[in-house]
């Protein structure tokens, strides 16, 4: 790898770097001149420049204490910072060529870094003063370099560009050297840019931007949030499923009594159970409404006697008591519908002294395919009756038993309706009253 010689221009001298040595961390970093015992007055500033948290060298190199020897003294100022920082990084990567006390250029010198600037903790290069003076002091050295065909890199802050251009306008040597590319002038924003220019990106990598880090964190947080929400939903779904699946199983197995008991428990249970019961009822209501919409009911009066035929014309709201009735149930939907109909008297049989034990239930059941009609003959009766019709898309043998119980015990009607609703079956209740109508004849 190519080795670089680092030069520190000052207002008095052109200064080379003799040596850099890692010292015990207890020791404060020092700058000395040509291996002398006396520390230069800028040593405390150099120590602050090295030692973390104020300094940058410890952060860049990973060691807190150095002794650096330079060829000529530097008494004040801070423009040495840029060159010293570059020298430390080169030294760490073994591409720094040291100068001798009396000879800045050695036989090993391949390329020169002539650098002047201060650096802040973000490694941004700041403007320096007296640039013209530093360049004029370095003229002999620069001429010597070009004479020996040694490539020179003048490294400055971008904020010194105007200063440099004004120096350049009066300096033919610099113009020629830049034209012939023996001198490259690098105006930089930060130290990373130098290593980009020198194609040494691997030596000093730009840290990942903080924004990017937060962006990454944001992504990670988003992912974690999604996972968290998914897990939360999975747990909730599992909880809901554990409560819902027994209902579905009971429904599938037609274990209605237990299903109704469970639903009743849910309605008075915790929030989840209440919500599940609500949704279950809602779905069953939708199903029942769908079946109800599929069914059309029509009462058709008739009488075979010619004299009464005119009294039994269909479509009238009131029907003469001499008329017989047919109940026409039509399926206008696509699916087949099963039907159960119970006709029972509205009179209390006990009140009129009729024994109900031997009474045969007036229950009809059947199946109506799509666009077919089912006709139920409601025999003429002088007593008011109620017709209770249940529809379902599946045949359920238990419905007959329930209707029989209703027939025997009218008070069970309400319970049966609840049960029917819960199971998602459709139903209709029609009441046919036997009334006396008084008309004004005059």
């Amino acid at each position: 790898m190519k080795k670089y010689t680092v030069i520190i221009p000052t207002t008095n001298n052109v200064v080379g770097i003799n040596d850099i040595v890692k010292e015990d961390p207890l020791v404060s970093s020092v700058i000395c001149e040509n291996n002398n015992l006396e520390a230069l007055p800028i040593s405390p500033f150099y120590n602050s420049f090295v030692k973390s948290p104020t300094g940058i060298i410890e952060k860049l190199i990973g060691h807190p204490s150095f002794r650096i020897d330079i060829t000529k003294p530097i008494h004040n100022g801070k423009s040495w910072q840029l060159a010293i920082a570059i020298a430390h990084i080169f030294f760490k990567n073994n591409i720094l060529n040291f100068s001798n006390e009396n000879q800045l250029l050695t036989k090993k010198t391949e390329e020169i870094i002539w650098a002047s600037g201060t650096i802040n903790s973000n490694l941004e290069i700041k403007k320096i003063n007296y640039l013209d003076q530093k360049i004029y002091n370095s003229m002999n050295f620069l001429k010597n370099c070009t004479k020996n065909k040694v490539q020179i890199n003048i490294v400055l802050s971008i904020k010194n560009k105007d200063d440099f251009n004004s120096v350049l306008s009066n300096n033919e040597f610099l113009k020629d050297a830049i034209k012939t590319k023996l001198i490259k002038v690098l105006f930089l924003n930060n130290l990373y840019d130098l290593f980009d220019h020198l194609n040494l990106k691997n030596i000093l990598k730009k840290p990942t931007k903080r924004l990017s880090f937060f962006h990454k964190s944001k992504k990670t947080l988003s992912l974690l949030s999604v996972i968290f929400v998914t897990i939360l939903f999975a747990l909730m779904f599992n909880h809901v499923w554990q409560k819902t699946s027994p209902l579905l199983n009971l429904n599938d197995n037609k274990n209605y009594s237990l299903l109704l008991t469970t639903l009743k428990t849910y309605r008075y249970g915790n929030l989840t159970e209440r919500v599940i019961a609500y949704f279950y009822d809602y779905i069953q209501t939708l199903q029942a409404n769908e079946i109800n919409k599929q069914i059309r009911i029509n009462f058709i009066p008739y009488n075979d006697l010619e004299t009464n035929k005119l009294k039994c014309i269909p479509g009238s709201q009131s029907i003469d008591h001499v008329c017989n009735l047919n109940l026409e149930v039509s399926n206008i939907g696509i699916d087949t519908v099963f039907l159960w109909a119970l006709k029972f008297s509205n009179l209390n049989l006990d009140d009129i002294g009729i024994q109900k034990t031997n009474k045969k239930s007036d229950i009809v059941n059947g199946m109506i395919k799509s666009n077919e009609t089912f006709l139920i003959d409601i025999k003429n009766s002088h007593e008011p009756i109620t017709v209770f019709i249940i529809y379902s898309k599946e045949f359920d043998i238990k419905i007959i038993d329930w209707l029989k119980r209703v027939d025997k015990e009218k008070s069970l009607l309400e319970t049966t309706i609840k049960r029917i609703k819960t199971l998602g079956y459709g139903y209709t209740i029609k009441s046919i009253k036997n009334v006396k109508l008084i008309e004004n004849k005059i």
Binding site: E23, V27, S28, L37, A39, P44
Partner: protein
């Protein structure tokens, strides 16, 4: 300094040295210019380059260190016990000294001085005295109550400062 002040300082110095009682020319083993001792004490910067020469004279150094001790300085006595014949770390209530070898040169050491408490005295020199030998080194400006001096192992100062029997004065 006028003559009146000189006389006053001389008697004050004699008082410190407790020599006034016994002062007689016949008892002196060597010449002592008490004016000079007092002047060195009062103007250390003026005699910075000569002070080590003066301290080579035992009578001068005895008188000088006595003045320092009584007039005000920070001081560390001989160590009571030391496991080695060389001591690279010394500590007292007032200051701490660490002597660390340089990685650059085996003959070079860093003397790190840390003052523990705030002190009103202007600290210019570090004096070390051991077995009738003494030496002095100029202190750099203290930074955060800390100073660092490069010393050579081959120098007498190194031998004295690392000697457990050495007394240290900072003033």
């Amino acid at each position: 300094m006028d003559n009146k002040d000189k006389i006053s300082d001389t008697f004050l110095a004699l008082n410190y040295l407790n020599l006034s009682k016994y002062y007689s020319k016949s008892k002196l083993k060597s010449k002592l210019n008490i004016n000079m001792v007092w002047d060195v004490y009062l103007n250390p910067l003026k005699y910075q380059n000569q002070i080590n020469e003066f301290l080579k004279k035992k009578v001068f150094s005895d008188a000088y260190f006595l003045i320092l001790k009584n007039e005000g300085c920070i001081y560390q006595a001989k160590l009571n016990a030391a496991s080695n014949d060389r001591v690279f770390s010394r500590s007292s209530n007032e200051f701490k000294i660490e002597i660390v070898k340089s990685n650059k040169n085996e003959d070079v050491y860093y003397l790190i001085l840390k003052i523990i408490n705030d002190i009103d005295l202007q600290l210019l020199n570090l004096y070390v005295i051991c077995d009738n030998e003494s030496d002095c080194i100029k202190l750099p400006i203290l930074n955060d109550k800390q100073a660092q001096i490069l010393i050579k192992k081959s120098d007498n100062f190194f031998n004295l400062i690392t000697n457990p029997n050495a007394e240290i004065f900072i003033r």
